[in-house]
Symmetry: C2
Subunit: 296 residues, 2 copies
C-alpha cells in the first residue's frame, strides 16, 4: 500500500488486517480450547472496538519499515491484553458494568466464572502470540509486554484507580495513574510494533516513548470527555458512569474546556515528538489526530 | 551440592532457593507496584506452599546439567502461575474458598478487586521472569509457558472443571480435565527447567513428557485422596470440599483403595519413563516418591 494512501483507507485496511489476525489467533484450530471458554474469549475480542492499540503497533512498525505481516502477532497480542482487562474490569467485584461495546458484558453473557477464566486465558494467549512475533529478540519483547500489563503497568494502574474511588486525585496523581492504567500498554504497542522493523536509533526510540506518553494521556482525557458528552449508544458503554462512581476524571479536574484544551496540547506534543523520524512516522501523526478527534 | 546428598537435604535447599527467588521477584525494588497490590501479590505467593513445580523445574534442570542459579527465574515463573490460579480459584465466583494454606484467602484478606488484580499481575510477572530466564530460546520458553497456562492448558482445565460441577465425569474425562488443569503446568515446569541446561536428545525430551504426564495425574489423585482423608489443619484448605461441591474426584470414581493403587502405578510409570537419563534424573525420581507419599 503506497504511503500516499489517505489515512481513512490505511486505517480501514489495518483494522481488517487485525480483525483477521484476531479471528485466527482465537480460532479453534489455533487454540483448541473448551467450547464455552473459547466462545467467551472470542465474544470478548471480536466484532467490536476500534483497535487503537493494534493501529499504533502497525503505525510504529511501518515507521521502522516493517512489513504489516511482520506486525500482526504483536498487534494482536496488545489487543488481547486490552480485551482481557475490559473483561475483568466489567466484573461485579470491579466496575460491575453490564454493557460493553453496546453488548452485554462477557460475564453477563457467559457467567462470572467463565468470564474470569476467559480474561486469564486471553492474557496467556497474548504472550503466546508475542512469542511468535517478528521481533528480533522475542524474549525482551515478552518482558516489555509483561511489564506493561503487570503490577507496574496496567494492573497497577487499575489498583490505584480502585483505591482512589470515592476520593479526589489531583491532576498530577491522575496522570500518574493513567500513565500506568492505559499509558503503559499504549507505549508497549508502539515499542513492540517498532521492534518488528529495522533497528531504530536511540533518538527514534525515545521519540516513540515521548509520542506514546503524550498520546496515551490524550486518549484518557478524550475518554473522560466522551463519558460526559457521549450517550451509551455512541460509546457503547454506560455514559456518565465515572461521575456516578465518584471517580476522579480529567473533566471533573479541569472542566470541559480545560480538558479539551489539554488534549489538543498533548496531540501537538505527540506530533512534535516525532521529529526525529523526518516524515517517516506519518501514520503515527495521523493516529494522534484521529485519537483526539474521535467520537467513539 | 554433591549428587549423593539425601533428597530431604536437596529439597530443603531448593525450597530455600526458590523462596529467595520469589521474595526477590516480588520485592518493591524489582517490582515497584502500588503498595496494596504488591502486598496482595506477596501474600498470595510467599510463606506457604511446598513449591512442587519449582522443585520439578530444578530437578529437570539438574538432569540436564544446569546450574541451579540458571533455573531460578523459570522456577519462580511457574510458581507465580500456580499462585495466581489459586487466587482466582478461591474467588467467590469460582470455588468461593475462604481458606488457603491455613490462612484467609487473598480476597478475604485484601478484597475481591485487589485479589483479582493481584492474580492478573502475578501472571504478567511470571512472563517477565521467563523472559529473564537462562533458557537458550526465551521466546519459545514464553510460548511454552503461555500454552500451559492458557485456554488449552490450566485455564481450559478449570473451565472444564466448572462445567462439570454437579455432574459426573468418567475416569477418562476426569484424567483429560486434570491433564489440562494441573498437568499442563507440571509438564511446563519440567520442560522449562530442562531447557535451562544442556540440550537434550529427543528421547530425553520425550521421557520428561512421559514422566510429567504420569506424575501430574498422580499428583491430582493424591490431592483427591488428601481431600477425603485430610483435615483442614493438615492440608491448609477446607477438607471434604470436593464432595460438598459434588465435584467428580478420583476417589469418588475409583474408591479410596483404587485411587491409592492408581497413584502408585503412576509413580512407577513416571520413574520408568526416566530410563533414557540412565541415572542422571535421580532428583526427578525422588520427587515422584515424594509427591505420591506426601501428606500435605
Amino acid at each position: 500500500m503506497h504511503s500516499d494512501v489517505p489515512f481513512a483507507v490505511w486505517s480501514r485496511e489495518r483494522q481488517r488486517r487485525i480483525e483477521d489476525a484476531l479471528v485466527h489467533a482465537l480460532s479453534s484450530d489455533a487454540m483448541p480450547a473448551p467450547v464455552q471458554l473459547g466462545e467467551a474469549m472470542r465474544y470478548a475480542v471480536l466484532g467490536g472496538g476500534k483497535r487503537v492499540r493494534p493501529l499504533l503497533a502497525y503505525a510504529a512498525g511501518e515507521a521502522a519499515a516493517a512489513d504489516p505481516a511482520a506486525i500482526d502477532s504483536c498487534a494482536a497480542a496488545v489487543e488481547l491484553i486490552h480485551a482481557y482487562s475490559l473483561v475483568h474490569d466489567d466484573l461485579p467485584c470491579m466496575d460491575d458494568d453490564a454493557l460493553r461495546r453496546g453488548k452485554p458484558s462477557c460475564h453477563v453473557a457467559f457467567g462470572e466464572a467463565t468470564a474470569l477464566l476467559a480474561g486469564d486465558a486471553l492474557q496467556a494467549r497474548a504472550f503466546a502470540l508475542i512469542a511468535q512475533g517478528g521481533m528480533q529478540d522475542r524474549g525482551s519483547a515478552c518482558a516489555l509486554l509483561a511489564d506493561a500489563a503487570g503490577a507496574c503497568g496496567m494492573a497497577g494502574g487499575q489498583a490505584i484507580d480502585i483505591e482512589a474511588s470515592g476520593r479526589t486525585l489531583d491532576v498530577s496523581d491522575s496522570a500518574a495513574m493513567h500513565r500506568m492504567k492505559t499509558g503503559a500498554l499504549i507505549r508497549a504497542s508502539v515499542q513492540l510494533g517498532a521492534r518488528c522493523g529495522e533497528p531504530l536509533s536511540l533518538a527514534e526510540t525515545e521519540a516513540l516513548d515521548a509520542f506514546a506518553e503524550a498520546i496515551g494521556l490524550a486518549f484518557q482525557i478524550v475518554d473522560d470527555l466522551l463519558d460526559v458528552e457521549g450517550d451509551a449508544g455512541m460509546i457503547g458503554k454506560t455514559a456518565g458512569k465515572d461521575a456516578a462512581n465518584a471517580k476522579p476524571t480529567f473533566v471533573s479536574l479541569l472542566g470541559l474546556a480545560g480538558a479539551r484544551s489539554r488534549a489538543e496540547t498533548l496531540r501537538s506534543d505527540a506530533q512534535s515528538a516525532l521529529a526525529p523520524f523526518a516524515g517517516r512516522a506519518r501514520r503515527l501523526s495521523e493516529l494522534a489526530d484521529w485519537i483526539v478527534a474521535r467520537e467513539f
